[in-house]
């Protein structure tokens, strides 16, 4: 009898424990509002601008439920949260940010500073891994231009560009770590419409603090990617100096184009520069180290790159050892020089997307960001070494 009473007591205690924990779980989680998927205004792309001292947001949201027509809404407000509620006033369904893929920052807004929007976005738990891009006009123009395109056009465009075409990878994680971290600056891909009204990824925008400072070209962006990302795939344009002019002009990177003698007299010249060819980067490794000698700080960069060559100039006979060596050495030199030029350009503009500050900080006891960028960084010296390994040359004749 005692046992059974004890057992039933235990059992009821157990049931009460279950009920209490269920109630606690429900209370703790709160009542999440239902957001049924087809009743939401799901947006993938937002453009942020500043207009007359106000923030404006331009939202492109696809209408999946009927006819696949996208709508564009634009509102202005003084702060990001009001911006979101203002958007809701203008659309038939609640605008939600959980499926945002790309944030387009207008150029004037970027120059004014992106911190407010960035800090608001960081606090929104529904926003996942998104990409930020900077447009070279107003973001509104980009969004409006995207209206006839498929809903995820911009996101896919950036994805392919990062995967295969040599744009450095960026997302909200890199952005936030660069924004809050000291010793590194923000870089974001740049987009614009070209002359034929097509959207292109056009280089990289580099920020100083929260403000846009410098824009570099696609070619430079690729060099940047080679020294910064793990994924090194992309194409690089090389104009080979002619063999005859090689001597004495080794250090000159901007080789003037000289026609090959064999082809020289032919009138019906093919379009393009025939000493110019593309180098396809396959994979490789980079290493950035800091050498300190008293007050002199040298950044040395080593790059080992496996490349595929397609369409090398006819004057080069790759079977010959000297030609092979010549090709390899001159390519290595060109790339090294180009990287060095880029580094100097960044240095002159006082931006540090590579994060030399982080490397410096890791090797010195004292760290003062301001002092580093005012005194040490402008005086840094660079030495770049590249090693190309020619893996493939395409199918032979």
């Amino acid at each position: 009898m005692m046992n059974s009473m004890k057992a039933s007591y235990m059992k009821s205690k157990f049931i009460i424990t279950i009920l209490v924990s269920l109630v606690i779980c429900t209370l703790l989680s709160g009542c999440v509002p239902r957001s049924i998927i087809d009743e939401l205004g799901i947006t993938h792309t937002i453009g942020i601008d500043e207009e007359n001292g106000k923030l404006t947001a331009t939202v492109l949201y696809p209408n999946y439920t009927n006819s696949n027509k996208a709508s564009v809404i634009k509102t202005a407000a003084d702060n990001p949260s009001t911006l979101k509620s203002n958007l809701g006033h203008k659309s038939q369904s609640q605008i939600v940010l959980g499926q945002i893929r790309t944030f387009v920052l207008g150029d004037s807004y970027s120059k004014a500073g992106i911190s407010r929007v960035l800090e608001t976005i960081c606090k929104d738990a529904t926003i996942g891994n998104i990409t930020f891009v900077v447009s070279d006009t107003k973001a509104e123009d980009i969004i409006k231009g995207l209206k006839p395109a498929p809903p995820l056009y911009l996101s896919h465009l950036l994805e392919t560009s990062v995967l295969h075409e040599g744009t450095p990878e960026t997302n909200i994680h890199t952005l936030v770590s660069q924004y809050y971290g000291s010793g590194i600056d923000i870089y974001l891909p740049n987009i614009s419409f070209d002359n034929e009204k097509q959207l292109v990824v056009s280089g990289l925008s580099i920020f100083k603090g929260e403000k846009l400072k410098l824009t570099i070209s696609n070619k430079e962006a690729f060099l940047f990617k080679l020294m910064n990302d793990k994924n090194k795939s992309g194409y690089y344009d090389i104009t080979l100096p002619t063999k005859d002019n090689q001597k004495g002009k080794d250090n000159d990177k901007e080789q003037k184009h000289n026609r090959d003698k064999k082809q020289g007299d032919i009138d019906g010249k093919q379009p393009g520069n025939e000493n110019n060819f593309a180098l396809k980067s396959l994979y490789g490794k980079h290493k950035i180290t800091l050498h300190k000698k008293g007050n002199e700080n040298t950044i040395s960069m080593n790059l080992t790159l496996n490349v595929e060559l397609k369409g090398i100039p006819e004057s080069i006979q790759i079977e010959k050892k000297e030609d092979y060596q010549y090709l390899k050495k001159s390519m290595e030199k060109i790339i090294a020089n180009d990287i060095e030029t880029l580094l100097k350009k960044l240095q002159q503009n006082e931006v540090d997307p590579f994060g030399f500050g982080i490397i410096y900080r890791s090797e010195s006891k004292e760290w003062n960001e301001k002092e580093f960028y005012q005194k040490i960084y402008p005086k840094m010296a660079f030495s770049v070494k590249t090693d190309l390994i020619l893996r493939q040359l395409g199918v032979g004749e």
Partner: protein, 503 residues
């Protein structure tokens, strides 16, 4: 042998005359008076239970003795006269009563009032099916034989498979009205004594009127009455029950049903198909893995659909977003109603399919399901994608080899769907946590139910998620506490260096 308490009292007070009076109330009770050389012989039996042919040829014809010198003085003399094997002389009234109602003849002779001769000529084969295909647990490779409704046939089939003196079959009568023969089968010297005693005790404690099926015994003796999970493996396949017995489990058979149960079982036992062992271990492992994946798929997909579409639109992959919204564009219901509607349709089809006579009926049910589903989509009652999800999860619940287990999975799914509709992903996790806690606490004959995982037993993992090569599964699982753990020895193969000529 123990019987229910109140029956014992009845039999103690009843006399033989009362027994006969009670039996005479039934129309099929007959009594024949015969004379064997001046000795009066009284034969009482139920005419519906005895084999009349055997009675004519072996019994009655032998009573007509021509030899004048033969004198029947006792039952022993009569017994010697008859060419039958199953005869016994007794004065135990309860035994007489039992056997009378099982179809035996009671023979009395003059001057002998306290002792009776019992002769077994019952017609045990009457009304039994002649084929024993295992229809409900089909396998493509391997034997297709199953048990039948007759327990003697079943024991015969079992003994033919396990040809060893170690196989012990204990009998016990259960059921105050049915007095069903229930067999406890185990391997002597292998199966744990403790488990055997547990089974004996639990079966002896049963007080029930009629044993309909072993599943009834299962429900009465199980460790936890309120769990939807089957705690004992129930099967009609000979090879499966043989496997459990030689692994060190105890099987329980009951007369009148082809299903046997065996225990202690673990959750993984329910996802084992004999085919896993008939195929190479690579294939066997793959199919078993598919089956276990199927269970998770079946339980969780519909609920995840509900959770994601009602609460977590953020987690949908971007390329799936368009198709998902488009397919739901014209559906007027919230996802929970949509899912419940379709799941119920599938359940109805399955129930209807089970009532249809043949396998064709089942296939027809599925095809009907597709047609109904298509029509439902066309009428904008559900979305296309949900139709696929529900159909696939129904399909994957069919892959579970044990029917009882697949029923459990069917039911669990609804719990998760409802939880998902209230709390979204949190609800599913909450449900999963409760499910795990429940599974951790379950026991089968005192052995943990989730055993290779909790408590973790590394050795037993070789035959859980995957079916390893026979080289590695030659030991009985430790959690069954076998007295002899080695199933068979593994000889090491000599590695011979290949000769050039071999190639």
């Amino acid at each position: 042998m123990e019987l229910g308490g109140h029956i014992m009292i009845d039999q103690n007070t009843m006399t033989f005359e009362e027994l006969i009076t009670l039996a005479k109330k039934s129309r099929d009770f007959s009594q024949i008076e015969n004379r064997v050389n001046d000795t009066k012989v009284l034969i009482s039996y139920f005419s519906t239970l005895v084999n009349h042919e055997l009675m004519q040829t072996s019994f009655l014809s032998n009573l007509n003795v021509k030899d004048e010198n033969l004198k029947i003085k006792s039952l022993k003399d009569l017994q010697e006269l008859l060419p039958l094997s199953e005869m016994s002389i007794t004065n135990d009234l309860s035994e007489i009563e039992n056997k009378l109602y099982k179809g035996q003849l009671i023979v009395q002779i003059e001057n002998e009032t306290s002792e009776f001769l019992l002769i077994n000529i019952n017609s045990c084969q009457t009304g039994l099916r002649q084929f024993n295909d295992s229809e409900n647990e089909f396998s493509v490779v391997g034997p297709k034989m199953g048990f039948v409704e007759d327990i003697d046939t079943n024991m015969n089939l079992l003994r033919r498979k396990i040809n060893s003196p170690k196989l012990v079959i204990e009998e016990i009568l259960i059921g105050s009205l049915s007095k069903t023969r229930v067999m406890i089968v185990y391997m002597d010297g292998i199966t744990s004594e403790q488990h055997i005693n547990t089974v004996r005790e639990r079966l002896a404690d049963i007080d029930i009127d009629i044993v309909w099926d072993t599943s009834l015994l299962d429900q009465v003796i199980r460790d936890n009455q309120n769990t939807p999970f089957p705690l004992y493996l129930s099967t009609e396949r000979i090879d499966r029950i043989t496997y459990t017995i030689v692994s060190g489990q105890i099987a329980i058979f009951s007369d009148g049903t082809p299903y046997a149960i065996s225990g202690p079982s673990t959750l993984f036992d329910f996802f084992i198909s004999p085919e896993d062992y008939y195929l190479n271990w690579v294939l066997g492992s793959f199919f078993r893995f598919i089956r276990i994946m199927g269970v998770f798929f079946s339980i969780f997909t519909s609920s995840i659909y509900v959770a994601v579409l009602t609460f977590h639109y953020e987690v949908i992959p971007k390329d799936l977003l368009g198709p998902l919204i488009e397919s739901r564009a014209n559906v007027p219901f919230p996802p929970i109603l949509e899912v419940i509607f379709l799941e119920l349709t599938i359940e109805l089809l399955r129930e209807a399919g089970a009532r249809l006579p043949t396998k064709v009926g089942q296939t027809l049910g599925i095809v009907g399901g597709i047609v109904i589903g298509q029509a439902a989509v066309a009428a904008a009652l559900t979305s296309n994608i949900l139709l696929i999800i529900v159909a696939l999860s129904a399909l994957s619940s069919f892959t579970t080899p044990i029917f009882v287990m697949s029923n459990t999975i069917r039911v669990l799914r609804f719990v998760f769907i409802v939880l998902a509709s209230f709390l979204g992903g949190l609800g599913i996790i909450l449900g999963f946590v409760f499910l795990l806690a429940h599974l951790f606490r379950l026991k089968s004959f005192g052995t943990p139910y989730l055993v290779p995982l909790y408590p973790f037993r590394r050795n037993a993992l070789a035959d859980s998620f995957i079916r390893s090569s026979f080289k590695f599964i030659n030991k009985r699982p430790e959690y069954l506490r076998p007295r002899d753990s080695l199933k068979y020895g593994v000889k090491k193969k000599k590695k011979t260096k290949g000769d050039l000529n071999d190639e």
